[in-house]
Each structure stands twice: as C-alpha cells, then as structure tokens.
Amino acid sequence: MIRWALLILGGCLLGGVVHIATIIMLPRTATRDAYSRLEPITPVNKVTPIPPPTSDAATMPYMDPAFASAICRYDLSQGPMKLTVPVRTAYTSVSFYTDSDVAYYAINDRAAGRRVIELDLMTVDQHNQMPEEEDVTAADRLIVESPTLTGLIAIRALAPEPSLLPQAQSAVAAAQCLRSDDVKRPR
C-alpha cells in the first residue's frame, strides 16, 4: 500500500518535471510559430508587405483585418539596422519581436512624435561599441536594443475604414529597413 503511494508520488514529481520541461522546450521546437511561418516568405533585412487576412487565407492566426502590415525579418550579425517608417494614416505602430516571438519593444506614431518613425536597431554589444561622440550627436536618435541577433519588426498601419486600406498598405510598403552601413550618411 505504502509502496503504491510512494510510486504515485514519484510519478507526480516526474510529471511536474515533464510538464515544466515541455513548456520550456516548446517554443524552441515549434514549427508553426510566427517566426517559422514568416521565415520562408520574408527576405532578410527587407520590408515585406503581408497581405491582410481574409477568411480563406491568413499568414498568421488572429491578425487584425483593420491593419495593413509589413514584416522586416532582421539579422544584426553584419551590423546595426536603420528603420524608417512613414506615418500617413490614422495610427502607425512598429513592434519588435525576438526570433522566439517575444515582443520586447513597440512604439507608435504619437510616441515617435514626427511624420516619420526613424530608429536604429542594434544588439547590446553593438550599442556599447558605438563611438562615444557619435552617441552624443545621436541624442535625438532613437536606439532600440535587440536581445537577439535575429528577429522580426512588424510595421502596422491602421485603416480606420476599409476604403483607407490601400493608403495604409502603401504607407507600410514605403517603410525601409536597411543595414546602417548601406544608408548614406546625411553629414
């Protein structure tokens, strides 16, 4: 009797370990998560418009049909990135995700405070290696630190009415995400 009770207790403890291990392992082994879905259809370091979801086809589940969206799948191993998003419609937001779909930063047009959202994306190491005087002149530059080398930037513009969707789509399609070295310095 005691033997069975002990065996059940052991089983429960093992079950707890299995449960925690599977929960932690799942994001790493998932093949249908957002990053894996987007990887084959988005070239790296380039803005790719994503078609709005319809009842027949959607790139991801639970997409908001009122938004035009574009994805920049980035890879910072060659150096920092520069992102420019024009603000044209009612509401524009830029969200940053790691390669395991964790949202680590987001900004919207009002917080950016201009007609263009401009920011630099780099890893913590790249930020630390930035020359100091450049950091000072760049005081008004918005710098986002990515916790991972690769990830996703989701650029989304709201169409308050369906008729404004083409305008929102052209705004997100006009967004640029380029390696900082490829961007011509204005000075």
């Binding site: 065996l7 089983g11 299995v18 799942l26 639970y62 919207n108 009415e161």
Partner: protein, 192 residues
C-alpha cells in the same frame, strides 16, 4: 520484476500528468498575470519581454505575434457575461463603452483564429466606423442574419471568439479590474 513494474508505473504516471498538464495549460491559456474584466480576458505581460514560459509556449503553439504593450492590448471573449459560449447562430449584443484608447477594433474569429466567412465580407469594426448613441456608447449585434445598426455577421458558425484590441492606451501590465476600465457587456439575446 517488481522493480520493473514499479518503474514503468512511475514513468506512465509522470508522462500522463506532465503531458496532460502541458496540453491543458496551453489549451486554456494558463499564463500568469491575466486581466479579466467581465467576459473579457487579456494577458498584458504576454506583450512584454517578461513573458513567462507559459505565455511563450502558447504564443509559439498558436503561431501569432502578440500585441506589444507599447502598441496596445488585446482582450478576448469566448463566452458572454453569463458564461454561455458565444454561438454564431444566436443574436449576441455587445454594448457599452471601452477604456480610453486612441483607436480600438473588435474582430470576430473562429476558434482557430481565422476570420469567419460571411456574405458581406465584414469581420469587425474599428472605433471610427461604429455608429454610436448620443451618450457615446455603442451597440454591436453579432448575428447570423442582417440586423439594423452595427451588424457583425457570424456566418452561422457554432463557436466564435470576439477580440477587442485597444491601441495606444494606458491599459496595460499595471491595470487592475475596476471602474476606470469599463468594458462592453456581452449578452446573448435570442437563440433559434
């Protein structure tokens, strides 16, 4: 022999409890820090870098990109205020006001997160499209057949989920359910 039997028993119990627990946790959305107001539930922490392992696992399993907190917050309802699952064959009234936000959208999905097919191609409303009453409140009727006012077609599907997204809002990780966060009520009015 006894040792072998015992070991197999422990392994079986462990597998059933462990995998069963994982399945249930992901199916029911067991992330920490949920915010429930009326029929609506949100997981504000899912949209931050502090997302817990349960949140990360369910994001990966569903395959969506969560709404980041700097962008907005996503509330979902699978049942009405009385706990009755939302049924696309019934007339369901969604009425009231939302917490303050620059924009909001309400969208109807099937339980797989796909837009429900319907003849008029409407899947939701934005805060600008909606027709409001004199006091600023709104009423949306989710129903299989055309209705006057803000009609949200259900396409007659058996089960659906309503998703209310608030964009550029103060509602977030530190929000507690209370009077400052009024959410629309959901009532099932008539079923065939």
């Amino acid at each position: 022999m006894r040792l072998l039997l015992g070991t197999l028993f422990v392994l079986a119990v462990g597998a059933v409890i462990g995998l069963g627990g994982t399945y249930l946790a992901l199916k029911r959305g067991a992330a920490f820090g949920s915010l429930t107001i009326g029929a609506w539930t949100a997981w504000p922490k899912t949209g931050t870098a502090d997302a817990d392992p349960y949140a990360r696992a369910s994001i990966a399993r569903i395959g969506l990109l969560p709404t980041a907190v700097g962008d907005g917050i996503t509330f979902a309802a699978e049942a009405d205020d009385n706990g009755k699952p939302l049924d696309g064959r019934c007339d369901v009234l969604v009425s009231g006001i939302t917490p303050s936000a620059r924009f909001w959208t309400i969208t109807l999905y099937n339980r797989e997160g796909e837009l429900a097919a319907n003849s008029v191609g409407r899947h939701g409303f934005t805060s600008q499209e909606i027709v409001r009453g004199a006091d600023g409140s709104f009423a949306i009727i989710a129903a299989p057949r055309a209705q006057p006012g803000n009609w949200l077609p259900t396409g007659g599907i058996e089960r659906y989920t309503l998703v209310l997204r608030l964009y550029d809002t103060a509602v977030g990780v530190s929000t507690r359910a209370g009077r400052e966060v009024p959410m629309p009520s959901i009532t099932t009015r008539s079923c065939p």
